[in-house]
């Protein structure tokens, strides 16, 4: 039991009333069911201003007599939570979430995008700061809603950007907009605006939130925008360059250990779609992607595995001891596939959810994702609606099209994850040598060489709290990554460094 559990046990000291006599005397309210999505809109429109009970009865009437024995109560519709560059929001799963950070990267002048010296060229239409994420009830494409284009019809959108430049504060220093969404006119046009911030200690970063609603937005969708606004959570993270160059659809959010990840889809340059597994706090640490998949005639099943990811606390799977590392698995399946099963004989069978890819990307394929234990052996099986095997592939061998990000950086990141995994076990990096490292991350080769080598990770400056790793990419460039647990600092660089201080260089190259 940790301190948090102990603190929450304080709730046991609160006197609770004995409600049994009240319960035995009550007559139950009519049960409330979850209406279908189409009916939910109708219900919401007609129930505006009516009481909760009337809404409940409307739901019963409209949902028909077929499910009268189902439970009950105002259950939320299916939701999706995602974190993009430290901004977390929850929205209906049928809505579109777009990671706009690559767009911000192209707007800002690096390497100092978050300071007051942000230089946004005057010919850039997107004046609402540095776009981070937006959610909408329609697929509005991969462009920012903050372009002065007013939402039309029943379109509803919530847009979040790092605030900057002239939009930061009023001349008297006060925030430009209140904390809550307030109607007004601003850089994104007529709509509702709010000022929020991420803070840690004495450091804070301002955010602009814009809600745009077309004239015919149903009340339910308006409420969903407000709910998405209410769900916003801001973490103060480094504004590092994204691994991707264009905005992408966020298909799912995945939590692994302390980190949130998104599964994102973009049009591939050579046809099909690129599926990327992106760290939601450090988007430059996108470790793996499937490139150019989902084209007509492509295999029915293609998938990829991430490197080892450290978990906050040990997780148990049937058949294997508790472990504090895992891998993320994600892939695409054709429209022939109804179910995916990940069969790992030593740990069990898992069934990841299958999620649609927006039709605007022009593929009939869908995606799936799940986190799996770090064991070898097993098969991913794609089944059709009748339970027949459509395709299968061994877990160890991702589809040939799995295309890792630049190999040297990707290897260094995976090597650092292995080092951090080692640190988690003993609260020290001491002892993390090539032999130990390869036992944790067998897909990599390690050495203790003072000169960076292609295809191998050199382990240097190992102390109780620090570690430095270097390697050489195929084009002859040296890369380094360092971690200092005493300060919680991760350092990325492009040099054959022999100390953490030497690990420097053009950090944008890590994008």
């Amino acid at each position: 039991m940790d301190d948090l559990d102990r603190d929450l046990r304080m709730l046991d000291s609160i006197d609770a009333p004995d409600l049994w006599r009240d319960i035995a005397r009550r007559s139950p309210r009519p049960p409330v069911r979850v209406p279908s999505p189409g009916r939910r809109t109708v219900i919401a429109v007609f129930s505006l201003g009516l009481s909760f009970l009337v809404l409940a009865w409307a739901a019963i009437v409209l949902s028909g007599p077929g499910d009268r024995t189902q439970p009950i109560a105002p259950a939320p519709a299916s939701e999706r939570t995602a974190t993009v560059l430290g901004v977390t929001l929850t929205a209906p799963s049928s809505w579109t979430i777009v990671d706009l950070w690559p767009l911000a990267h192209s707007i800002a002048t690096w390497p100092d995008p978050a300071s007051s010296k942000i230089d946004i060229p005057p010919d850039i239409r997107d004046r609402g700061g540095l776009p981070v994420v937006q959610v909408s009830n329609h697929d509005l494409g991969l462009t920012s809603a903050c372009t002065g284009i007013t939402p039309t019809g029943d379109e509803a959108v919530l847009y979040v950007a790092v605030n900057g430049g002239p939009y930061l504060v009023n001349p008297d220093g006060s925030p430009k907009w209140p904390q809550d969404l307030t109607q007004g006119d601003g850089p994104c046009g007529e709509g509702m605006y709010a000022y929020r911030d991420a803070a840690s200690g004495n450091v804070s970063r301002p955010y602009l939130v814009f809600a745009g609603l077309g004239p015919d937005v149903p009340a339910a969708d308006r409420q969903s925008v407000l709910d998405a606004f209410g769900s916003l959570d801001f973490a103060l993270v480094d504004l590092l360059p994204p691994a991707e160059t264009t905005p992408g659809y966020v298909l799912d959010g995945l939590q692994l250990g302390d980190d949130e990840y998104t599964l994102e889809a973009r049009s591939a340059s050579d046809g099909g779609v690129d599926i990327a597994f992106v760290n939601g706090r450090q988007p430059e640490v996108s470790s793996v992607r499937l490139a150019g998949v989902g084209r007509p005639g492509d295999p029915d099943l293609q998938f990829a595995l991430s490197g080892l990811v450290r978990l906050t606390s040990p997780e148990s799977w049937p058949g294997i001891p508790p472990t504090n590392v895992a891998r993320a698995m994600f892939g695409v399946v054709s429209d022939r596939v109804a179910t995916v099963e990940v069969r790992m004989p030593s740990a069990g069978t898992f069934e990841p959810p299958i999620l649609p890819i927006p039709s605007s990307l022009g593929t009939s394929f869908s995606v799936f994702d799940i986190h799996v234990p770090p064991v070898t052996g097993g098969t991913v099986v794609a089944l059709d609606a009748g339970g027949n095997v459509v395709a299968q592939a061994p877990v160890e061998s991702p589809a040939p099209s799995a295309s890792p990000l630049p190999e040297a950086q990707s290897s260094l990141r995976n090597a650092m994850t292995a080092a951090l995994t080692y640190y988690t076990d003993g609260a020290t990096f001491v002892g993390f040598d090539p032999k130990t490292a390869v036992s944790i991350e067998p897909s990599l080769a390690f050495n203790a060489s003072p000169v960076a080598q292609e295809g191998e990770i050199s382990i240097r400056e190992v102390t109780r709290s620090t570690i430095l790793l270097t390697t050489l990419s195929s084009d002859g460039l040296a890369w380094c990554i360092a971690d200092d647990q005493s300060t919680g600092t991760a350092t990325y660089g492009r040099s054959d460094a022999h100390s953490i201080g030497e690990c420097s260089g053009d950090i944008s190259a890590w994008g």
Binding site: I14, W20, A73, S231, A235, P353
Partner: protein, 155 residues
């Protein structure tokens, strides 16, 4: 539906086993003892009148109570306002309630159900009607914030 003596005895035993803890959890989530009273009483009343229809009555009643509470909060158009003088409680518990009040509703739900009520991530997702991934996100973000808030209290 006519409530039989057997059903009443069964539901009362569930209430005696779960009711107090459920009430505290809903109270911690809503910060409003009246909402907690109503949500818990209504959930058990529904259980009483459904009788044998419900399998796993203990999990069912948690799900229903939290959804009723969420609906009431939404209906009243507020997130949460802890009325410090409206319900007497020991100071350490009040500190925890104050800290919980500063989380988002979804973070609060996830923290209370997972860390106080000891439900697994999968069960929390079923209770609040979302995905396991979403619960993990809310737990992770909520835990960090709650620890900071409680450390500030201690500091």
């Amino acid at each position: 539906m006519r409530v039989t003596r057997d059903v009443e005895q069964t539901v009362e035993s569930v209430y005696r086993e779960q009711g107090t803890r459920l009430w505290r959890a809903v109270f911690a989530y809503t910060g409003d003892h009246e909402v907690a009273d109503d949500a818990v009483a209504e959930a058990f009343t529904q259980l009483l009148h459904r009788g044998d229809e419900i399998r796993e009555a203990d999990k069912w009643v948690w799900k229903v109570a939290f959804r009723i509470a969420a609906g009431q909060l939404k209906e009243r158009g507020r997130e949460r306002s802890l009325q410090e003088d409206s319900y007497q409680m020991p100071e350490p518990a009040l500190d925890v309630m104050r800290a919980l009040a500063r989380l988002t509703p979804r973070q609060r739900q996830a923290i209370v159900l997972h860390h106080y009520a000891d439900y697994s991530v999968k069960d929390v997702a079923r209770i609040v009607g979302t995905s396991g991934g979403a619960v993990r996100v809310h737990l992770s973000v909520g835990r960090k914030r709650l620890r900071e808030l409680l450390e500030d209290r201690d500091g």
